[in-house]
């Protein structure tokens, strides 16, 4: 049997929403799965059910062939026995214990030399060696996050769960730590489930995206696939009208970056912190469609292509242009009529370099 995480979590909140989320994904092939959705969609309910903190009213949870929860058979493996590491939103470090004691907390049973070695190893890996004797209140937000992650990993969990791991940080710190967190998760050697409502976070951290809306899982798939091919309108609304393409950095100049996405070369503003791999994101609203004989314009990216698909959405029309990559543009119905945007029509897509958002994919 394939190693997998599968759950079917039903929970009713009195006078509130009903959560009925069901999904399954393999534990191999990319360690990080992002549970993505607006607040109230049930992300945290699912996460806490996986951690064994709030049992579902009904349903089942199984991990790697082991049943963690089955309402029908009255199985509810306690948190202590599931082997999960949980990273809380505000990290929940034990305030009365030093960093060293926080790290050691979950490995208390191990023999002392073994435990000391484990702490030293984690401190080294997470850059905490200098901080071991501090108390949590003496740490910065980023340091707290690293301590919390190291503490969760110390007992060698089989599954790592992260609840909005970056939301407790201020915006500049968050920018820096996104890449760092991705790196740490990728090298943790443990499958992880990250809850977030932040699109950029989902892109930067995830290998796989599970979209939650209205209490149920609507789509599971590779991150850019879900973004570029939402399964239904609800998913499209949740992930936003965003074009997302895996991109490779070709070169830099004057604060701009040239990336290769699909068969096209795109110019974008350098966000900093870029390695070689990134996601190039363009909101469909920011794509301007022009006739091929178009005049000059300030847009640095002008990609000629053909209309591959067209879908009318009220006053707007969603047009997919195949121009080396399937670029989606959102234009008014009047513009679509004037430019005769039907399938097969030749057209040019213009995107300003500043409208291309590059999300680093560090590894």
């Amino acid at each position: 049997m394939e190693r997998a995480l599968s759950f079917d979590v039903v929970r009713r909140f009195p006078g509130g929403p009903v959560i009925a989320a069901r999904a399954e994904w393999p534990l191999e092939g990319g360690p990080v799965t992002v549970l993505f959705g607006p607040s109230g969609a049930g992300k945290t309910t699912v996460l806490r059910a996986l951690a064994g903190l709030d049992p579902p009213d009904q349903g089942t949870i199984s991990f790697d062939g082991q049943v963690w929860f089955d309402a029908g058979r009255a199985i509810d493996v306690p948190s202590q026995a599931r082997g999960v590491g949980l990273l809380f939103q505000d990290y929940a470090l034990f305030p009365h214990l030093s960093v060293r004691a926080n790290l050691a907390y979950g490995v208390r049973r191990a023999a002392t030399p073994e435990r000391d070695a484990r702490i030293a190893e984690l401190a080294e890996r997470f850059g905490l060696s200098e901080l071991l004797d501090r108390r949590p209140h003496q740490l910065s937000g980023g340091q707290k996050q690293r301590v919390a992650l190291a503490r969760a990993l110390a007992p060698r969990p089989r599954l790592l769960l992260l609840d909005e791991p970056l939301s407790a940080l201020d915006a500049p710190t968050r920018e820096v730590l996104r890449g760092e967190l991705r790196h740490l998760l990728e090298h943790a050697g443990v499958p992880a489930v990250v809850v977030t409502h932040d699109r950029i976070e989902a892109l930067a951290l995830g290998d796989r995206l599970a979209v939650l809306a209205g209490g149920s899982v609507r789509q599971v798939g590779p991150v850019h696939e879900v973004f570029s091919a939402p399964a239904d309108v609800e998913v499209a609304r949740v992930v936003g009208t965003e074009n997302v393409f895996p991109a490779r950095v070709l070169g830099r100049s004057d604060g701009l970056v040239e990336v290769r996405a699909g068969q096209a070369t795109i110019l974008a503003v350098d966000p900093g912190g870029l390695a070689e791999e990134a996601y190039a994101c363009v909101r469909a609203e920011e794509v301007v469609l022009e006739s091929l004989d178009g005049h000059d314009s300030s847009a640095r990216n002008r990609l000629a292509g053909t209309v591959a698909a067209r879908r009318d959405e009220g006053p707007l029309v969603r047009v997919t242009v195949e121009c080396g990559l399937p670029l989606v543009a959102l234009v008014t119905r009047a513009s679509a009529e004037r430019l005769r945007l039907v399938a097969g029509a030749r057209v040019s897509a213009a995107v300003k370099a500043s409208a291309v958002r590059l999300v680093p994919r560090n590894s």
């Binding site: 951690a51 306690p78 948190s79 929940a92 305030p95 907390y105 979950g106 503490r151 969760a152 007992p155």
Partner: protein, 224 residues
């Protein structure tokens, strides 16, 4: 100054506080974590001594544990002496009478510990009982100390229950508050002044300590 009464009062208050830490903590913990629908009844029972006249409690204890009741005969068999007019009887009565003064601060302190810290401990593989001693209690101890100190002060000042259950036997059941009553009855105002002043000073110091504990955290980790 009536040193025998001071010593006895101190002994009674100290013993009552210690017993209530042992007894009150589990009750407080249960009150905090339980989701039982009839829990409020237990809460009401625990709070009863706040509103009940001490004479009522004393009366029921005397009839319930007196030599003529089965429980009283059991008490006499175990303790070697009858319940009324004994120091042990005084301790039992004091524990019951001060129960809410211990349990309520305890419960407040335990409930004030961030639930997520407890959950973090669970996910790190630590059992609920071990979590209580390694996380909850270390973080709640200022409140626990406040409850113990409050119990001490309350027991020092109790009068009605002591008189009902213990009577007035010097060196055995004659506490400070009973001594003051004696002095006034005998029109010894000088002695009554000294004893009452002492009790006032101790009570004030103890309450100041309680409020000081709650206002300013002892350690910086309590600042959240």
């Amino acid at each position: 100054m009536d040193f025998a009464a001071l010593l006895l009062s101190g002994e009674l208050a100290g013993l009552t506080s210690a017993l209530l830490v042992l007894l009150g903590l589990p009750i407080a913990w249960w009150l905090v974590v339980s989701r039982w629908r009839w829990k409020f009844l237990v809460e009401a029972v625990v709070a009863l001594p706040i509103v009940l006249p001490p004479t009522v409690l004393g009366f029921y204890l005397l009839t319930g544990l007196g030599p003529r009741s089965p429980a009283g005969r059991l008490f006499a068999a175990v303790a070697g002496h009858p319940f009324p007019f004994s120091f042990t009887g005084l301790v039992i009565a004091s524990v019951l009478y001060s129960l809410p003064f211990a349990v309520q601060p305890f419960a407040g302190a335990l409930a004030g510990v961030d639930r997520r810290l407890v959950e973090a401990s669970y996910t790190l593989g630590v059992s609920p009982l071990a979590t209580f001693f390694r996380v909850t209690l270390p973080l709640a101890w200022p409140g626990v100390l406040a409850g113990a100190v409050l119990t001490f002060a309350h027991t020092l000042g109790e009068f009605g229950v002591v008189l009902m259950v213990g009577g007035n036997i010097p060196g055995r059941t004659r506490t400070l508050s009973v001594a003051i009553f004696d002095h006034v009855e005998a029109l010894e105002y000088g002695a009554a002044h000294r004893t009452a002043g002492l009790l006032l000073a101790i009570s004030f110091a103890v309450l100041a300590l309680v409020y000081g504990l709650q206002r300013r955290p002892f350690f910086r980790w309590n600042e959240r």
